[in-house]
């Protein structure tokens, strides 16, 4: 049975009383959708990860429904992981502003030779990322990002020791600072590993005699000499609160085999 609504509009003007009647078929109207009340607070965790697989590529599954640490753990099982950026930004209820996740570093340089300074480059390594968020009717969050990331493989390969944000080294042995790792054999838990131990990070312990960590020597490397890689980070994706948007970008073309850059975005609704 069709439901019909009658609207009676009456008005009085100088010439008398007028009225107009409209019949509206309610069934033909689109359903009225009331958007959910925005939550009090939205925070977005962002991480940028460089991954170099021990094989040609990552063969496992990344858990998008867990934490960023869990994603690092999954990646670390299959190669070397450098955590290059980890930050949190908050959005207000209306999501009006753009969150900036910029983090760059540079080494200003100059030359004592007159005229030489004009040929110098002043490279900036790091992340420049603008992120916008929008509430969706289904309760999801639409993330939209725009930026770029620049890095140097030569600089990152200098990371040695447990004070660096480097994970997944249980599958490799460091030869010495500045060189790439080689695979260390089948036993992931071999004690002579260097770097952050995933067992220690995630609670799985094994009774082994711990060797003294390699003393980290901070090598001073010119920013002018190192290789320079840069990729654009542009995209959008709809995710639920707590879910991680895992974006994979190719690393250096023709460089280390299978190198990938992962951008991880995790919005969390907080009351």
């Amino acid at each position: 049975m069709k439901k019909t609504v009658l609207f009676l509009i009456g008005c009085i003007c100088s010439t008398g009383l007028f009225a107009q009647v409209y019949f509206i078929d309610v069934d033909s109207l689109p359903p009225t959708v009331i958007p959910p009340e925005p939550p009090a607070l939205l925070s977005v965790n962002t991480a940028l990860v460089r991954f170099v697989p021990k094989g040609n590529k990552f063969m496992g599954t990344l858990p998008s429904d867990q934490t960023i640490s869990d994603v690092l753990k999954a990646l670390g099982k299959e190669g070397k992981v450098n955590l290059l950026y980890l930050g949190t930004r908050f959005f207000d209820r209306q999501l009006t502003q753009t969150a900036k996740f910029d983090a760059v570093e540079e080494r200003p340089s100059f030359s004592l030779v007159t005229g030489k300074e004009t040929t110098l480059t002043n490279r900036q390594f790091g992340l420049k990322l603008d992120l916008r968020a929008k509430w969706e009717i289904n309760g999801a969050i639409q993330l939209e990002w725009d930026g770029n990331f620049s890095w140097s493989n030569e600089l990152l390969n200098l990371w040695v020791g447990d004070k660096y944000l480097m994970f997944g080294m249980s599958v490799a042995k460091i030869l010495k600072p500045g060189l790439l790792f080689t695979e260390g054999g089948e036993d992931e838990d071999e004690p002579e590993q260097t770097g952050v131990n995933l067992r220690a990070l995630f609670g799985k312990k094994k009774e082994v005699k711990k060797e003294e960590p390699v003393s980290a020597t901070i090598t001073n490397v010119s920013f002018l000499d190192t290789d320079f890689q840069s990729i654009a980070l542009i995209g959008k994706q709809q995710v639920q609160s707590g879910e991680i948007a895992i974006l994979e970008y190719p690393g250096r073309a023709g460089g280390e085999s299978g190198e990938k850059i992962f951008l991880l975005l995790q919005p969390i609704i907080e009351e």
Partner: protein, 268 residues
């Protein structure tokens, strides 16, 4: 069906004026004298802001996050220094009235101009401003909460901060993390060569690293400068600690996190 509609209309239309007049009569009696509007006095918001650099003894600590921090600045430093080295790069307070355009600045920048002596015609080295540039705006949300919006950036040099030694620096370290400070000392065998060629500035020049020897291209690079943006917005309660953490490393320095800490207090 059409006949029914016409009949329905013919009955309804004459009633329209009565319905209208009836509606007027049923209006609740409203006093002709408007109630005096009570303007509540604008509340005052006191903001305490601190920028802390945290260098963990082990990088795993950074993955645990910083949501568990609480209390005042002393409490935060005490909590962090158990896991690494803590340097307070900025601490300041501002008061502002919670009106429509309530905003305040926490800028604190410093520069080290560099002078080259004995090299006429040499180019002027670049000057970097280190420190905090931060603007916070606020508006009242309700009796208990306030909406904060902050925009700005923080620039620092790990090389310079790592040089902090002695009791007069705002650097704290727990006994468990004693190794961290030792490891963070600036290394590099080339730094002593700086003084051999030409005097550059003051003690800051000790951190310069010439590329090549005195007879080479004489290209100098300053210490690494790191800049992070600080922009966010959120509602919070009076006395609630806001922690905005950023960890970033693109060079060859050890892991370190910059923590923006905000303590808002609504005053009556």
């Amino acid at each position: 069906m059409k006949l029914h509609r016409t009949l329905f209309l013919s009955v309804l239309l004459p009633l329209a004026p009565f319905v209208c007049s009836g509606a007027d009569e049923t209006k609740p009696a409203v006093s002709a004298t408007p109630a005096p509007s009570i303007i509540a006095p604008a509340r005052t918001l006191s903001l305490e802001v601190a920028i802390v650099r945290f260098k963990p003894a082990s990088a795993e600590r950074i993955l645990r996050g910083f949501k568990g921090l609480s209390g005042n600045l002393v409490g935060v430093v005490d909590s962090l220094k158990a896991d690494g080295a803590v340097s307070i790069l900025y601490s300041g307070t501002r008061d502002l009235r919670l009106d429509e355009k309530a905003k305040t600045k926490f800028d604190a920048l410093e520069t080290k101009p560099i002078v080259l002596i004995g090299k006429p015609g040499a180019p002027v080295p670049p000057v970097t401003s280190y420190g905090l540039a931060l603007e916070i705006s606020a508006k009242g949300v309700d009796a208990e909460r306030v909406g904060l919006n902050w925009e700005g950036s923080m620039t620092w040099s790990p090389d310079v901060v790592d040089e902090w030694k002695g009791e007069k620096f705002l650097s704290f370290i727990g006994s468990a993390a004693g190794v961290a400070k030792k490891a963070s000392a600036l290394a590099g065998t080339e730094s002593k060569e700086v003084n051999s060629g030409v005097d550059i500035g003051l003690s800051f020049a000790q951190l310069f690293n010439p590329k090549g020897g005195a007879t080479d291209s004489q290209i100098y690079e300053m210490p690494v400068n790191k800049t992070i943006s600080l922009s966010s917005s959120r509602n919070c309660k009076s006395g609630e600690l806001i922690v905005n953490a950023t960890t970033s490393e693109m060079g060859n320095k050890e892991a370190q996190t910059i923590l923006l800490l905000i303590w808002p207090t609504i005053l009556p």
